[in-house]
Structures are given as structure tokens and as C-alpha cells.
Assembly symmetry: C2
Homo-oligomer: 243 residues x 2
């Protein structure tokens, strides 16, 4: 289960660069700065809990490929996936793994050491890099908002609504990272993982996905999801009231 090394830090930064650029337009100078803050590439098998290093010595990493999660384990075996990490996301132990959460790869995964980048973003940056900092901040804010959204989902939405809401969120995130478009997105995780994220049993997760499929709100097969008419799915999800 140990990670395999790989030292070519090449275009692994693309999803991160795109995600940042989706918030604030960036120049090549900014993208280069991002790449320079990255280090070693590592490959991890699914279920690996050593993302960012061993427990107690974890460092920030960029998730370059594959999906990962911050997981809470209860004593009796129940699990809650608190948040999902997609390619282009930064997994920062200091921010994302408070409270004894364990980072874990869900699929096989490629991570890139990002300690220097994360450190740089909390220091004073030269004026020319301000747009980068702004993008970084917006990206972090989006991650925090997702946690709030997750509370609302689990607290007040039905299984059906939760699922619609999550799928739209995943689609949007992958679009920002350049990993999805009108022709669909990857969804390389098992229904059990989705269930653990949405607080449902596997069986009910399956039935809920089938219902969405039957009503042609999603087209889900072979680890891919297509949302033919986003507006219809969006009507299922319950929006916050802008009171």
C-alpha cells in the first residue's frame, strides 16, 4: 500500500491552474509561480491513508489525478466522508483535516508535494502576484462553503435532493478544473463511497441513482455521468432562499 515515487513534476499542475484561473484570470507568470511551488510526484493505490505523508507528519499536497477524501471513522465501523478532493484540489492538513479526519485516496491517485506553494500563499507576495493570491483565496473560500453546503444537505435534504445537489457540485468543480464539459464528467468512485459521503446506505444510494436515471435527469454508466439538462436537475436540488 506504500506510495511509489516519481520525480517528473510536469503538467500535473494543469487542473490546479485551471481551477485558479476560473476564479481570476491569470497570466503565464502566475502559472509558473504555481508550478515552482510544487515538488515530488507520488502515486498512491486506492484506500491509501498516507497522502501527504504519515499520520502526524502530513504536508500539503496537490491532488493531481484521481479522487480522495477526508474521512471520519466511528468506533463501530461507520464512516463519514466529510469532504471530497478532486484533481486540482489542494489537501492541506492544517485546514482540511482538523478533528482527527483521515485523508484517503478513493481511487488510485497522483499527488504532488505542495508545501512550498501553500507556504508562499500565506506570505506577503509581490504586487504582480496579487491576482494569483486572489484566485487562491477564492478557491479556498469555495472549499469552506462546500462544508457548509454539506451540513445543509445532510441536515435538511432528502436522499434524492442530496444526490442531485452533489452531482451538480461535482460537475461544476470538474468544469472549473477543465475535467468536464457538456459531454459529461468522470465519476470514478463506488456507490458505497457516495453513500458514505451523503449519509445513506449503499442500497438506498443505488436506488436513488436509479431513480435519477429513470427520470433521465442523469446518464450514469461506466464511471461517467452526463447531466443532459442541468436546469432540470437544478430544480430538484433545493436552493438557498436569498432572503
Amino acid at each position: 500500500m506504500g506510495p511509489a515515487l516519481n520525480s517528473q513534476t510536469e503538467a500535473w499542475a494543469a487542473p490546479l491552474e485551471r481551477q485558479l484561473a476560473s476564479h481570476v484570470a491569470l497570466r503565464e507568470e502566475h502559472r509558473a509561480f504555481v508550478r515552482e511551488g510544487l515538488g515530488e510526484v507520488q502515486t498512491h493505490e486506492p484506500e491509501d491513508v498516507t497522502l501527504g505523508g504519515a499520520r502526524g507528519a502530513r504536508q500539503p499536497v496537490l491532488l493531481a489525478a484521481g479522487w480522495a477524501a477526508a474521512v471520519a471513522h466511528l468506533q463501530d465501523g461507520r464512516k463519514q466522508i466529510v469532504s471530497l478532493f478532486l484533481p486540482g484540489d489542494i489537501i492541506d492538513p492544517a485546514l482540511d483535516l482538523r478533528t482527527g479526519l483521515t485523508p484517503q485516496s478513493l481511487t488510485s491517485v497522483r499527488t504532488v508535494e505542495a508545501r512550498r506553494l501553500v507556504a508562499a500563499m500565506s506570505e506577503d507576495l509581490p504586487g504582480a502576484l496579487q491576482p494569483l493570491l486572489a484566485a487562491w483565496t477564492l478557491s479556498r473560500a469555495a472549499a469552506e462553503s462546500r462544508l457548509v453546503r454539506q451540513v445543509i444537505r445532510l441536515g435538511r435534504l432528502s436522499a434524492y435532493e442530496r444526490t442531485a445537489d452533489l452531482l451538480l457540485d461535482l460537475q461544476e468543480r470538474q468544469e472549473r478544473a477543465g475535467l468536464a464539459d457538456g459531454r459529461g464528467m468522470r465519476m470514478p468512485v463506488t456507490q458505497e463511497m457516495l453513500a458514505d459521503h451523503l449519509g445513506l446506505s449503499v442500497v438506498h444510494m443505488n436506488r436513488t441513482l436509479q431513480q435519477l436515471r429513470r427520470e433521465r435527469l442523469i446518464d450514469y454508466r461506466g464511471g461517467r455521468v452526463l447531466i443532459p439538462e442541468p436546469a432540470r436537475l437544478d430544480a430538484v436540488r433545493r436552493r438557498l432562499d436569498e432572503k
Copy 2:
């Protein structure tokens, strides 16, 4: 529903000072700095949504007395109380109210303007104030952890476990603020508010509280809760597995 003014910024800082001191020992110098960062005192009726100012112009405030909440309203009238604020807590719009959450008083409430204090804590502080900054940071981290804990509660705990977990959390927070001890704590909110926080119906909230009462895990009457044997209640709550 509008707020009433009141300009004596006296000992309203006590719960905040105690909460901070519960994380890192503080000297009078630190406490004085906290008080100097505070401004006008305001009184609000229950259900007031103008804590910290009107929508769009909200400023950080210290909650000095009474309970408040960050609430999400769904279009069809469902509500989710995402987080609770207790005396001594800072309500910072930039951190606590992302994603269209509305701050709202649950009881009648007293707030103190805290813009200067919050701003000061994000600037470079003289060395002598480092302990204060450390306490502040720990206090914020605890608030963030509570959000994660809330996801776990709603996602994977039963109504009974959720309630036990929340009550222990409230007891600990109030102890830190000097508002509770072995003789119990205040709980000035309606069961409907608790239900909206724990993702339950009022009726089921009521039955769950009664069950805890019947089993003598809590003594709950007249807006006060006593936990006679914390260890027993703690056994009900499901702890995270320290794997």
C-alpha cells in the same frame, strides 16, 4: 425588531476573555487588549437578523449574552441551523456566514462591535501579545472543528446520539466561557431550534430529549440542563476512532 443602542462597553467581554484563557493562559495585558478592540453594545430581540449590521454591510461582533445562530433558509421554508453561537463567541461574517447564511438571534441577545479586535488579530502583533494570538487561533480552530463534527453528526449519528453529542459540546463550550459547571448549564432555546440544528422534526426532538431524561442521562427543565454523569452520556455519543 430593530436593535437598541447602549454604549457602556463594560464587563461584556468576560465570556470571551475566559474562553480565550481556557486555551492559553492570559495576562491582564492581553485581556485589556481584547476589551480595547471592542465598540458599541447593542441589544437585539429574538429572531433578529441584523446582528452585525444590515445584510451586505455586516461587521464582526462579539456575542456577549444570549444565543444566536447561522441559519440557512430553503425556498420551501425548511431551515438548517448550521452553527450555534454562545456568549463569548465572535460572529465574523467573513468566516462564519459564507454561502448566504443569515446570522440570527435565537434569544434576546447582546452584541458588541468587534471590528477593530478582529482586524487586529490578523495583523502583526507585538511579541508580548503572542499568547493572545495563540488563544485566538485555537478558538477559531475549535469553531471550524465544530463544523466538521456537525457533518459527522448529521451524516452518521442517530437522533439519540446526535443529541447526546450536542449537549456535551454545549456543556464544554459554556464551561470554557465560565457559564457552566458541574451544576449545569443554561439552554435558553426552544426544542424547535434544537431540531433545526440537528436535522430533526420538533416532535422527534422532543421524544429524544424525553428518552435521555427518562434514562437519567440529563436533567432538563426550565431552560437548564444538568448532565449528572458526563461519562454515561459520553458513552452514548459515538467518538471518532483514533485510527
